[in-house]
């Protein structure tokens, strides 16, 4: 003992060899955020795998991160499923961001069925992506989702509170969002490579028209569109249609 053996000699003698991770399919599921794509070893979402997104609070940019992907996926044949979202998706807001609502299925359920429903959707192979907001999900149940996503070749997204960061997770990719409104993405774990140390800015913060200006002049702007629409068609029909609409939505 004590003799120093150069590693290169051992490698040349084929006594020691290096393991190689299975090559990852590159760029099949771009995230829509170029900086994030570049930082991830898969050059996009890990395909047919579980991605965990950890938030300090609701509404800090999780949908800004996901909606470009959902807009792309809803153009395809397989629907995207939301399971027990914490709020109602604003249909018009999602459409403005390019999501085809005909391919967006929402499942309302109690907490105890959330993981079951997510697993069924993932395993079925008929969904492009499944987004879920479980309150209680342990390592075991997340592993089931990971396996189901692989079986059904679907993207699985679990969106949870940041406090779960300390717990181990079987997810292929763990992202933490931080510091709204100029949200930063911190990659906490990514299969197939070391997580980048730098936080990645989540681009394109929405600019609102006239942001930062005083709006006094606009204060009395009446809702133009209603008047425009009323002028465009026979007034009676228009009113009747609205009345029927509101009755139905009440029912």
């Amino acid at each position: 003992m004590g003799a120093v053996v150069a590693l290169s000699n051992l490698l040349d003698a084929r006594q020691v060899w290096r393991g190689h991770a299975a090559p990852l399919a590159d760029g099949e599921q771009p995230t829509g955020c170029a900086a994030l794509d570049a930082a991830l070893p898969t050059r996009g979402w890990p395909n047919a795998a579980l991605t965990e997104i950890l938030l300090p609070a609701d509404g800090v940019g999780e949908l800004r991160l996901l909606l470009p992907t959902l807009a792309r996926l809803t153009k395809g044949h397989r629907p995207v499923v939301l399971i027990a979202p914490p709020y109602a998706p604003c249909a018009m807001g999602w459409r403005q961001r390019g999501v085809d609502l005909q391919q967006l299925e929402i499942v309302d359920t109690e907490e105890k069925h959330v993981l079951w429903a997510a697993e069924q959707c993932l395993r079925s192979g008929s969904c492009a992506a499944v987004l879920t907001w479980p309150q209680q999900a342990d390592d075991r149940s997340l592993r089931r989702l990971q396996v189901a996503a692989d079986t059904g070749r679907a993207l699985a997204f679990v969106i949870r509170d940041r406090k779960h960061l300390t717990n181990a997770s079987p997810a292929s990719l763990r992202l933490e969002l931080d510091g709204a409104p100029n949200t930063l993405i911190r990659v906490r774990k990514c299969r197939g490579g070391n997580p980048p140390t730098q936080a990645i800015p989540l681009g394109h913060v929405q600019r609102f028209s006239g942001e930062g200006r005083q709006m006094a002049a606009a204060m009395h702007a009446v809702h133009q569109r209603v008047h425009g629409a009323a002028d465009a068609g026979p007034r009676g029909n228009y009113l009747q249609r609205h009345w029927v609409d509101s009755k139905q939505s009440e029912a």
């Binding site: 609070a57 609701d58 509404g59 800090v60 949908l63 800004r64 909606l67 044949h77 397989r78 979202p85 709020y87 109602a88 998706p89 604003c90 249909a91 018009m92 807001g93 999602w94 459409r95 403005q96 609502l101 005909q102 299925e105 929402i106 499942v107 309302d108 069925h113 429903a117 069924q120 959707c121 079925s124 192979g125 008929s126 969904c127 079986t151 070749r153 510091g179 709204a180 409104p181 100029n182 929405q206 609102f208 028209s209 930062g212 709006m215 606009a218 204060m219 009395h220 702007a221 009446v222 809702h223 569109r225 209603v226 629409a229 009113l239 609205h242 609409d245 509101s246 139905q248 939505s249």
Partner: protein, 466 residues
């Protein structure tokens, strides 16, 4: 016209054999209790030297271990009905003759191809169900029936060819009235050809009109006069088990057979089944009913078996089962799911409709929905369940999350954009006069809040720009 005939020489025996997994010696016996004789024997029993017509006592002396099952004449009719249902898949004109099924196949040619093709399908189906059969085809049903009795796979397509084929048939195989078949050979008439050329008036005087009618039906000069088979609208099958079964696992083999039969019957009828009942009959106790319900009509043998097995496995048997009964009253139409030619989904994928049914079954009928936009600007009315979205896309920024109902908001905030005055809805019970603002909270979230028109206070949170 082209009629196919499937002659089923041992219906009763096949009906018993197909329900067992092994092929130990087995015979069917019939006759008075003190003079029972064998009416049918399976291959291994015949190998052991048992033969049809043998006395049961003689057979018992020859072979120590074999099973003797009483012959049930009603089972023959039952199986024949079942097989007619299977054959109904190939033709709308199916009729029953003693120990045989005849079906008109010339009109099905465009669907199933020439006779050789069709014969292959028929043989495949009947072999898969476990029934021995002889097949023949001829322009008349009775002609095909006779040909099936004299050879395997005979097929004649024209009247002349049928005439030639019938010429050599011995009278004993001609299936003509028994009185004539007994008497004619003694008069030197041994072949069917000879009989067909004899003077008709003499035959009529001697044997009556019955023989001539049978001869005319054979050659097609008289309509066959068959009662066509109509598939029943309900299924009620009973499978008697060979011994008392105390374990549900032992019911799986007969269940598999039953669901396979049901699938064969349903595809013959071009229908499906959504609900059926498995009734387990006991000796003394009340029968146990196991209802099986599916979300949409199905007819695949695997799906039916899985659905039935799942339910049956949960049953606790209180007493041994003697017989299994399958009852399906309602047989709705079946529409097979369409699949894309270039389907990109995994091979074993469930269709989304099936998935939705599964979710709804467990989570409730209203658990799965889509959202559609309306042209109403009020957030409470701007979207509705399961509607097609209007073409209109709002030019002003809208959030991505909406609260189910607005809540008061008191935290510190900074106004980013607004106001957007919404003064509308005066025509219905929910008029609105609000100023909407986009604000940033202390935590950096972007929120969509509103207050009464013209004020900047009393904020209500409506949604998030997440």
């Amino acid at each position: 016209m082209l009629w196919a005939c499937l002659l089923l020489p041992q219906l009763a025996l096949d009906g018993v054999l197909r329900r067992r997994a092994d092929d130990s010696p087995l015979v069917l016996v019939d006759g008075a209790a003190n003079a029972r004789s064998i009416v049918a024997a399976n291959a291994s029993a015949r190998d052991a030297g048992l033969y049809i017509g043998q006395r049961l006592t003689a057979a018992q002396a020859l072979l120590a271990q074999f099973e003797a099952i009483p012959y049930d004449p009603s089972s023959v009719a039952r199986w024949q009905q079942f097989l007619a249902g299977v054959a109904y898949r190939y033709s709308s004109q199916v009729a029953l003759l003693p120990h045989a099924i005849v079906l008109e196949v010339s009109k099905s040619r465009s669907l199933f191809g020439a006779w050789a093709e069709m014969e292959r399908y028929l043989r495949h189906d009947f072999t898969a169900l476990g029934f021995r059969h002889h097949v023949a085809a001829a322009p008349t049903p009775h002609g095909a029936y006779v040909l099936a009795g004299i050879g395997e796979g005979l097929a004649v397509f024209t009247q002349e060819a049928l005439q030639r084929a019938l010429d050599d048939v011995p009278l004993s195989r001609s299936r003509l009235p028994a009185s004539a078949v007994d008497a004619l050979p003694r008069m030197g008439v041994r072949r069917l050809g000879q009989l067909l050329r004899m003077p008709r008036d003499g035959l009529q005087r001697r044997f009556g009109a019955e023989l001539l009618q049978a001869m005319d039906r054979l050659s097609g000069e008289r309509p066959a006069g068959l009662d066509l088979y109509l598939p029943p609208d309900a299924v009620d099958w009973r499978f008697e088990l060979s011994h008392e079964v105390e374990n549900v696992a032992a019911l799986m083999f007969p269940l598999k057979r039953m669901t396979t039969d049901l699938a064969a019957y349903l595809s013959g009828r071009d229908g499906g089944v959504q609900r059926f009942v498995l009734r387990l009959e006991h000796r003394d106790a009340e029968a146990t009913d196991v209802p099986v319900g599916m979300l949409s009509p199905e007819r695949s043998a695997d799906v039916l078996f899985d659905a039935a097995r799942g339910r049956l496995e949960r049953v606790q048997l209180s007493s041994p089962v003697l017989a299994l009964r399958l009852i399906a009253d309602d047989l709705p139409g079946f529409v097979p799911a369409g699949r894309d030619l270039f389907d990109e989904r995994p091979a074993n994928a469930l269709s989304f409709e099936q998935l939705r049914e599964r979710l709804r079954a467990r989570l409730g009928d209203r658990a799965v929905y889509r959202l559609g936009t309306t042209i109403d600007p009020r957030p409470e009315h701007s979207q509705r369940l399961d509607t097609h979205s209007q073409d209109f896309v709002e030019p002003r920024a809208r959030p991505t999350w909406l609260l189910k109902r607005p809540i008061p908001w008191r935290g510190p905030m900074q106004i980013l954009a607004g106001p957007e005055r919404m003064e509308t809805g005066w025509w219905d019970s929910d008029p609105m006069r609000r100023d909407y603002y986009v604000v940033e909270t202390a935590q950096g979230q972007r929120a969509w809040v509103f207050c009464a028109a013209g004020e900047q206070g009393g904020w209500m949170l409506q949604g998030w720009f997440a």
